[in-house]
Symmetry: none
Subunit: 202 residues, 4 copies
Amino acid sequence: MRKGDPVKFEEKRQEILEGAVRCFIRDGFRGASISTICAEAQISPGHLYHYFPSKEAIIEAMAATHLESIRARFSQLADKKDAIAVITAELQRSRKGAISGEQALILDLMAEAGRNPAIAKIVHSHTRAIRGLLAETLRNGQATGGIDPNLDAELAAVLLINLMDGSKILRIRDPKIDTRKCDEMLATMIARFLSGNVAQTD
Amino acid sequence: MRKGDPVKFEEKRQEILEGAVRCFIRDGFRGASISTICAEAQISPGHLYHYFPSKEAIIEAMAATHLESIRARFSQLADKKDAIAVITAELQRSRKGAISGEQALILDLMAEAGRNPAIAKIVHSHTRAIRGLLAETLRNGQATGGIDPNLDAELAAVLLINLMDGSKILRIRDPKIDTRKCDEMLATMIARFLSGNVAQTD
Amino acid sequence: MRKGDPVKFEEKRQEILEGAVRCFIRDGFRGASISTICAEAQISPGHLYHYFPSKEAIIEAMAATHLESIRARFSQLADKKDAIAVITAELQRSRKGAISGEQALILDLMAEAGRNPAIAKIVHSHTRAIRGLLAETLRNGQATGGIDPNLDAELAAVLLINLMDGSKILRIRDPKIDTRKCDEMLATMIARFLSGNVAQTD
Amino acid sequence: MRKGDPVKFEEKRQEILEGAVRCFIRDGFRGASISTICAEAQISPGHLYHYFPSKEAIIEAMAATHLESIRARFSQLADKKDAIAVITAELQRSRKGAISGEQALILDLMAEAGRNPAIAKIVHSHTRAIRGLLAETLRNGQATGGIDPNLDAELAAVLLINLMDGSKILRIRDPKIDTRKCDEMLATMIARFLSGNVAQTD
DNA sequence: CATGAATGAGCTTTCATTCAT
DNA sequence: CATGAATGAAAGCTCATTCAT
């Protein structure tokens, strides 16, 4: 696991992870085999272990990398936009996103986190980060108006994540769904939720 | 796959499936092995193949059975309650539900549906059924008042399923979450969505 | 690891162990592979694990069985003969013994015991048993005369085992050695030791 | 296998062998891996093959070197002392010796010699040398008195080696053994053997 | 109906060895 | 001289599945 040129080493690691992602999307964490990953990354099985000590470690590294890239994207969005726009942008990206099959990957990741403490830890930390970003955006919205100031920002952030998670399953449940209409109604739902109609709550 | 008494045959099948569910919850679809399932169902591996032609078939039958039981529950609820009550009841069941770990099972199922056409088909049909039930309940609500009549009931049903799916991930993302508060805010969200606040939507 | 007929199960286990012994003699513990053992025992690699949970377990079982058979032989000898005859008989058996290569096996076993606590435990218990038997025989000899009564029987037993162990290496050190003469001199050595010449000891 | 400075080359070879010995003691011949040896010798795997063409060659060189150092020690001892003192000195060294675990190494070596002709050859030559030295010492003793002149010096030397070999196993068979007492009785045994007690031999 | 012995492909991982730099 | 990236065969082991009883 030592290396000469740390830069090249890290590059190769990323290359392998990219191959692994493709395999995980195609076959799932358990379904993907080391030899498939090696074929995808164009290296020999022996050499893979130069970069990762175990399949487990590949999954962990991949989870960390993938979730971090999501978090980074959120961070950028959160800087410039209001909560609704952040969520909307993310949902659209999720649907038309560069990496097809990302949804299944996240589902696998969450299912794995339900059984594997190491993955769980990574997911928890990621979740905290995302939730924090969203909550802050919401608080900004509450300060500048437009968002119901009575909402607990942290909890509302939880629900927004909830919605985004659910929408990853949406296409699996019905691949023929009209994405456009669906996004519109999601926007409606979020808007109504955050704007603070008190009609039926108490 | 021969059978003497079709009733006993079906009973045994269900018994095996119940054991399989426990294994799938504990270890996931790939992680659970036939021999584990046999141990759980107290049956020999040879005999198991009397009831199911393959592991694949067990997963499919289990998916069908499990989703059907969810649908049946929904059907009962939908008869008597309004949409909000249906969702709320279901969410609470999901959290405090008899079978702990059911969430992970559903996640696994959805992830599998993303790769396995046979499972996908089962999920699609189940989704259509649930969505139909919810949409009908929503339409009733629109007729009797209390629910925004401008909402497309089918699409709104999609979103409600969305919320329920997402809330399966919620506890995995953060096991320490305050379930009570979260349920309350979910109710708020749904109420605001369905009641039809027009604040920011147009 | 369960079974229908415990007798057949045990028979098969012994059969596998016999094959394993041949492999261990030929290739050593580490050098022998599961697939070699399977070939020797004429079973498939998967099936081997029906009878033993690991290669480690095979080595342990084999060690236990092998050492036990040595102990049983000693036990029989010790009943009827004096110490010198016991050792002499054993040495001759070791040389002309049915199982050729047994010496290398024992060496491997001892080397393994030096690193592997599980094997060490088995060896220790075996050693205690053998030493006890020899010591008793020696004490009988001391009582009936012919063996120096001043000798500590336990310690003397240790030395006799020492001699037998060493003689396992003898043939490896020089395969052309004159076994006959060597045995004679060993008998002389033992006789002189046990008879109790006080010439140079103090 | 090219070399610039033959002296430095040989020094590095020895350095590697020293590292290898430590690995072989710890893990056995098969258990020790090239990369472990490289780590121990602080050298890269590629570079190691500059000095040795194969792992096999390392074992052989190590065997030759190690046995030669034993022979050299014997040679020194044999110059100045009588046979009993030589053996006693060696036994004590073996027990309290600088390199702990050396016993296991020798056992491994002998077991390997039982299977590997190249190693066997080295061992045979070493054995001949040691035996010659001991036999000469014994003949000296027979000439100057104190050692039974009727003993075949070569054969007696074989038995003394026998004893030394066996005592390498002693501590493995029973780590709690009282080394001091054991050494004393070994001295007694050798003394009685060499002094020529005729009590029960004819 | 029911068992569990048996298979063999495939899994993750290790390791001696080679080679470009 | 020296590195460590790279290979590929083989290791121990698991598992879905079949079959004789």
